[in-house]
Structures are given as C-alpha cells and as structure tokens.
Amino acid sequence: MTEITSLREAVAHLVKDGDCVALEGFTHLIPSAAGHEIIRQARKDLYLVRMTPDLIYDQLIGSGCASRLRFSWGGNPGVGSLHRLRDAVERQWPQPLALEEHGHADMANAYVAGAANLPFSVLRGYQGSDLPTYNHNIRFMRCPFTDEELAVSPAIRPDVTVIHAQKADRRGNVLLWGILGVQKEAAMAAKRVIVTVEEIVDKLDAPPNACILPSAVVTAVCHEPGGAFPSYAHGYYVRDNRFYIAWDDIARDRDVFTAWVQRHIRDTADFQEFRQVLAQSKGAQA
C-alpha cells in the first residue's frame, strides 16, 4: 500500500547509498524535485539509470552522488553538452563515473523486460555499431526457431524508480498523461517507487484506459507541485526553456556549479524554497 508522505521522508527511507536508481521522464514530467532531494540528503555511490540523463543527472553527478551511469543519450536537449557529465567522464571530477552505454531502443526494451521480470531483453540492433565492443553487457544470441542473430541486454531492475506525475488519489493510484516516455515500465520494473505529483485528489476521474499506476505498485506519493521544473507537466505548466539555456553557463565551470548547488539545493529546505531562491537570483541578475 502506498504511503502519502513528504519527499524528504520518502528519499530518507527509500533511497539508500549504492542503490540502483532510475529517475525517468522523457523531457516531460522529469522528477527534478526528487533529484534535488537526493543531493540534499547527500546520497553516495548511486548507480543511476536514465535514457536521457539531462540537467537532473548533471546535478547529481556533479554533486558526487553517482559512481555509475546506464544511459543512452547524455545531452542538454536543444542546448548542447552536459558539462558535469563530461567532466566526470573526461576528467573524473568530482569522482570517476563508470558508463554503461546503450541505445534508446535497447534502454526502452530493458525497462520492459524489467517490468516483466525477465532477466534480459531482445532487440534487432547494434549490428555494425561499436557499442557492443565497449559495453560487454550488449551481447548477441541466435533465435531458437529461426537462427537469426539478435542483440540482448540485461533487464533494468532499479532498487528505486522515481517519477513525477500529474495526479494521485488518496489511496496512491497515480495518473499521468501526455508524453509518457518509459515511466510506467520503469516503475513496474522497480522494487520501490516514489512518485511526486502536482495534485492529490479524492478521485482521479481518469478517462478509460488512461495511464494509471495502481497503488499496489507505488511505495510513496509526495505532493510536489511544480516538481518537474524546468521540465513541464502537461495541463499545469510549460517547459522553462530559458533555464535549460542558463544551465549551460552554470554547469560549465566547477566553482560556479558548486556554488549554485550550495545556494540553490543544499542550503534550501525543499523544492519550494529552491524556486524562491532561484527567483531571487534571477531578480538579482536582471
């Protein structure tokens, strides 16, 4: 059964040092508030998994929370590089980051396999690519019926998956809509699931066959309105494209980044205070 609790408590009880953690959300509904809380609680040695490690993982990696990353595209969408990710890979700062690199199709498949409690996933792909040369977890097998060669990859089974959604009801059933990415599969694949939501309501009033995560799958629901900023929540607020652009300058320099994290994340009590401090810094710049 789901607990409805604060994000601080959820992270404190459900995210442990060394855990395999997937924070998912494909551009839409990125669980930024939860990422901040993990930094605030100074988790270490996390094995991070995410198709598109963008700002949220740049922050976690630069803050020294992660030692390993399974991913398929690590950039600042529409802007450029993730400087903290690059610094970790290119210069081991603040610590080395082991990469397990796949393609999007493979990552999506591997979440599906994890949700289905299978140890591996099968796909048509990687022929002629160098990825299998450097990632020994990409292998090939032959079809037991046709003898075709197919790629295989280990299923993703996070200790914790964290997603952001539009609504939960008081029993912990979660509703999301719009661009769904791999959130449902990432949640179904995990041992524990934290969902931050825009609203907690008495009744979801979901349309037929909507994307709902039943309460039986959800360990904790946390009310974090605005918790996907600078990403967006369809029906609530739009993407803050300017913050993505601004992030390029913040993350480019170690000291600027470190000071930013200190002031905006470590020194704030929660995501609401982060938003206030951010508004002040913007005001100061203007």
Binding site: G75, L82, H104
Partner: protein
C-alpha cells in the same frame, strides 16, 4: 530570392520525404526538415517522435523531443517502448532522419566520442535512438553541416551503421533497412554509390564550388559524372520555412533549436 546555406540544406532534406511516408524524426534539423515537408509537399507524412507522439503536426518547432505541442497535435501518444518496438523495430518506419557529429565515406555515424572511448577528448551525448533508426528504418536521410571536422576519413567510434566497409557489408550482416540513401549538407547532396556505397556528390547547392566541398570533406570526395545543381528553393518552400522558424522563435523566445 536569396537564401542561406542552412535554408537550402533544410529544404533539400525536406524534399526527400515522400508524401504518406512514416517518418521517425529526431530533434533539431531533422525535425525542421520533416515539418517543412509536411507543410509543403507531404501533408500526409506521418511524423513519429521517440518520446511517443505519432502523427504530430506541431505548429511551432519543438525545442525538445517531448514538447507538449507534439502531444497536443498528434493522432495519438504512446509509451516510448511502443515507438521503438512496434514502430521502428516493427519495420513500420519508412524514413529515419538523423543528424550526426561525425560521418565517414560510407555514411557511418559517430555521436559517441572524439578520441579513445576510455579516455575521450570530447565526450558526445551518445547514441540516442540512432543505432536502431539506422538499422531498422527502411531508409535513412542524414542532415548535417559539412566540414572537414565532421566529414572524417576514419571515425573514432561507429555509433550507428551506415554502409560499414562499403559494398554489401551491410547486407551481409542482415541489417533490415537499406541504410543511408542521402546525406544532405549545407553545401551539397551526397548519395552512396550503387556498388561501392561510397558517398558521392550528386547535387551541389547554387553558389558552392567543388573546391569548397573538397575542403570541407576529410577524404578525397567523389563527384558523380552527372552532378546536378540543387534546384533553388521555391517561394513556397522558403516562405513556409521562414514562417515556421518565425513562429518558433516567437513561441520559444529563441531561435529554432540546432540539435
């Protein structure tokens, strides 16, 4: 009507998308080209984005692969695994549009690293959907600005298979799709030679010289015997592209995204 090399690149790429085709669209230049095609000669092209929208008809270009505009204008929005499993791997994508950081003479693509993988000089964003788009789309169009830093004699890393070592190398691996059928740049259009699969300049944009193309290519580039000049943009093409980019700039408070 004068136009920029970026404009002719986008327009020339858009022209290659047949009406009615199912098109797997990457963000940035591919998305601009695919939407220009949809707004001009290919109103029935079905645009698919990896984040889930099928049949997206954005009025302004998305800045991210998962903008709300894509969901709001799509025929349906499915989970990402369905896009990759049922559509791309399912063999239902006619055209995959890709960009790249580096490309070689057989149209293999590198978006992973410059330098050695374990000690990279530059760590690039990585594969994204490209390896499987390159494998499974029935054909692939590559759109990329041309320079000797991008068009290199040897890739540091093959992220996505083009024609590999040329000839029938790709067919020997039983890769389902045909692979790259054209590379559209700001200078010219290249197509793989029917036999060797080496990229060959088949069309040069107006005002560009073969020398400029040679200088912007890291290998001794081949030219087709009957190399053409790329037709100038029509007024409709240019007006539609500019209006799209104008709407996009107004909506996002910025220029259209560049990947």
């Amino acid at each position: 009507m004068s136009y920029t090399t970026n404009e002719i690149m986008t327009i020339a790429a858009a022209r290659r998308l047949p009406d009615g085709a199912v098109c797997f669209v990457g963000i940035g230049l591919p998305s601009t080209a695919a939407n220009l095609a949809r707004l001009t000669h290919a109103p029935n092209a079905l645009l698919i984005y990896e984040s889930g929208p099928i049949g997206a008809k954005p009025d302004v270009l998305p800045l991210s692969i998962g903008d709300g505009e894509l969901a709001d204008t799509a025929d349906t929005v499915v989970p990402t695994p369905e896009i990759f499993r049922y559509w791309l791997q399912g063999g239902r994508v006619d055209v995959g549009f890709l960009g790249t950081a580096q490309i070689d003479r057989f149209a293999n693509l590198n978006t992973t690293v410059i330098g050695p993988y374990d000690k990279p000089k530059v760590r690039l964003p990585g594969a994204g959907g490209a390896p499987e788009i390159a494998s499974n789309a029935k054909e692939v169009l590559i759109i990329v600005r041309q320079s000797a830093r991008t068009f290199v004699p040897k890739l540091d890393f093959i992220t996505s298979a083009g024609h590999l070592t040329g000839g029938d190398a790709r067919a020997r691996l039983k890769i389902p799709g045909k692979g790259p059928v054209a590379v559209i740049t700001d200078l010219c259009i290249m197509e793989p030679d029917p036999v060797t699969r080496e990229l060959t300049v088949v069309s040069i944009h107006a005002g560009i010289t073969p020398e400029q193309i040679r200088a912007a290519t890291g290998w001794p580039v081949l030219f087709a015997a009957d190399v053409r000049q790329t037709p100038d943009p029509s007024a409709l093409e240019l007006d539609t592209l500019r209006a799209l980019q104008q709407r996009t700039a107004v909506a996002h408070g910025t220029a259209s995204s560049s990947e």
